[in-house]
């Protein structure tokens, strides 16, 4: 089958004859991919920031597909079902799954206790092959995957596997109270969605901060947010203080993660010397931008083992930090409702649709932010959906 193949930092190629996956566990399914996305999280892998990303891996944790084969214990999914597959691999039985913490399942990742299995996200997240391919093995097929609801656009469906629930959860973890001022660092797909969802929780003011003008422009329209360029600020923290009556934002969301720019010191230490897990510039700004007693929601991804940000200020200011992988399955019913009623339209953020065979270009464009890219969807040659 055709599949993307990681060869090292910034190097990806297309395999044309990777063996197709097989059922290895009675609760597995094999899915023929119809759409898959490239995510900001994939960039951390692409840049070589996630430990145990083995050469030959196939990435891709956001995909939809048609069930081709099911294991003997799969009862809910049927061959031929068109499904969306949440990025968390979750058993549904462990105490964490029982508490709807599907992103923390205890039975899907041998390699690290810090995270559950994720499709195509390094051996640190279990070493499972991902969806930037024609076929994928989907473990615990009865738990997370669901049939795409009748009438739902396939592009909205594929954005339900990560971006929409992740953005929603970022806002949810902020514990937003009606009228709150919410600052979102990062205007990528996740930040845009988080800013949009902040209103659902009753935010009074939503401010997005990034340095890419085209994304800021997008945030003003898609997320109904104020949007500002940190390159034009002396200090983003002072900017936030000033615009909140010298108080700080009630809620700050870090939707940037470890590929943050904005501080040469952080970049050299984290992205060149690898002495910390990427650069923590946005996280550091976020801690300092939130009000005393406020809430910081971290949805951006940081690799192990550590990062440089001011935990001391977090203590002195008495802020609450909430953070997790998105628990996708948990949020699907609510978000399907928001999409089907038109309150949310995730597919609006898709700017690029390209054949799976052009995956190397897709990664480069998304990494270098060329052609005003926001979200790219890959279409495999055998995607033919009715």
């Amino acid at each position: 089958m055709i599949a993307m193949n990681f060869r090292g930092p910034y190097r990806i190629r297309v395999d044309r004859n990777k063996p197709e996956p097989e059922i290895l566990h009675p609760q597995d399914a094999i899915v023929r991919v119809t759409r898959s996305c490239i995510c900001g999280s994939d960039l951390h892998l692409y840049h070589g920031l996630v430990p145990d990303t083995r050469i030959g891996s196939t990435f891709g944790h956001e995909f939809t597909g048609i069930v081709e084969e099911v294991g003997s214990e799969v009862t809910k999914l049927k061959v031929g079902d068109h499904v969306l597959v949440p990025f968390n691999i979750a058993c549904g039985a462990c105490p964490l799954c029982k508490q709807e913490m599907y992103g923390n399942c205890a039975e899907s990742n041998s390699m690290a206790t810090a995270v559950a299995g994720i499709f195509g996200y390094s051996h640190t997240a279990g070493g499972f092959d991902g969806g930037q391919a024609e076929y994928v093995r989907v473990p615990y097929a009865d738990i997370s995957p669901i049939k795409i609801p009748d009438g739902m656009d396939i592009e909205d469906a594929v954005l339900l596997t990560d971006v929409t629930p992740t953005g929603y959860q970022a806002a949810e973890m902020g514990g937003i109270q009606k009228g709150d001022t919410v600052v979102v660092y990062g205007a990528g797909p996740i930040g845009l969605m988080a800013a949009r969802c902040a209103w659902l929780f009753g935010a009074g003011r939503v401010i997005v901060i990034d340095h890419l003008e085209y994304r800021l422009e997008f945030a003003r329209k898609f997320s109904f947010a104020e949007a500002y360029n940190f390159k034009e600020m002396d200090d983003p923290v002072v900017f936030v203080k000033r615009t909140t009556d010298w108080w700080g934002a009630d809620v700050v969301i870090d939707a940037v993660g470890c590929d943050a720019s904005g501080s040469a010191f952080q970049t050299v230490l984290g992205k060149k010397l690898l002495l910390q897990a990427g650069s923590a510039t946005a996280l550091h700004w976020a801690v300092n931008s939130v009000k005393r007693g406020g809430i910081l929601s971290i949805i951006g991804v940081y690799g192990p083992p550590w990062n440089l940000f001011s935990i001391g200020s977090a203590m002195n200011k008495g802020i609450t930090i909430r953070t997790n992988q998105a628990s996708v399955k948990r949020l699907l019913p609510r978000l399907i409702d928001h999409i089907m009623t038109g309150r949310l339209s995730p597919k609006d953020i898709i700017t690029h649709r390209m054949p799976l065979e052009e995956v190397s270009e897709g990664y480069h464009m998304f990494s270098a932010k060329r052609d005003n890219i926001i979200k790219a969807v890959l279409i495999p040659p055998k995607a033919n959906v009715a």
Partner: protein
């Protein structure tokens, strides 16, 4: 008190004059919900999910299941057919595992060593990063052995760079050429430093002009 809670449209125009952003008096105690809702009529679903989400996820979903952590009914164990390194912070492998890319060669040996340390230990993660870099070299050797020369231009997606950032590519190529020329001048000259610097300067002038 004046409620200035509607900067959404007002401040968009101020986006470029960063010093001139209006201050909001975000007095949510004074603002009554219906008034707020009225203010955000243009945002579909404003405030719909506001109720009952504090404490937020994941605390809100706590149900005591944790206390059954020894006795829960586990899924069947997938047969382990390849070497799976598991974190020493858990007793054994998870019920499902991936059989993809088991540890191999020198990188594999480094990974095995790294997995002797816990996830709290830098030896674990730094070891894995080192293994990743070694693995990359192994990948190139493996390719060459199969008679495949990695096509770096294709792998790095530079076709897209040529399409969307042609100017940048040309500029970088010129700078690259300048550095190579300077390096040649440097190594082939007895009066090394002077000549190299001269060549560099000349090229820089060319590129920037």
């Amino acid at each position: 008190m004046a409620n200035t809670l509607n900067p959404v449209t007002d401040t968009n125009t101020a986006a470029n004059s960063i010093t001139d952003v209006p201050h909001t008096h975000n007095n949510k105690l004074a603002a009554d919900d219906t008034m707020l809702a009225d203010q955000y009529k243009h945002i579909p679903g404003w405030g719909m999910d506001a109720d009952d989400h504090d404490p937020a996820y994941p605390m809100r979903h706590y149900n005591g299941a944790d206390h059954q952590r020894i006795n829960y009914e586990k899924p069947p164990q997938q047969p382990v057919t390849v070497e799976i390194l598991h974190s020493i912070e858990r007793p054994t492998v998870s019920r499902v595992t991936s059989d993809r890319l088991p540890p191999k060669g020198l990188s594999g040996a480094i990974r095995r060593a790294a997995f002797k340390y816990s996830e709290a230990n830098a030896m674990h993660w730094m070891g894995l990063i080192l293994a990743d870099r070694v693995n990359m070299v192994e990948g190139v050797i493996d390719d060459l052995r199969r008679g495949h020369i990695p096509n770096i231009i294709e792998e790095r997606g530079w076709k897209a760079e040529w399409k969307y950032n042609r100017k940048g590519v040309i500029k970088e190529a010129l700078i690259g050429a300048a550095i190579i020329t300077a390096a040649i001048a440097f190594s082939s000259s007895k009066n090394k430093k002077k000549k190299a610097l001269k060549a560099m300067r000349a090229m820089k002038a060319k590129v920037t002009s």
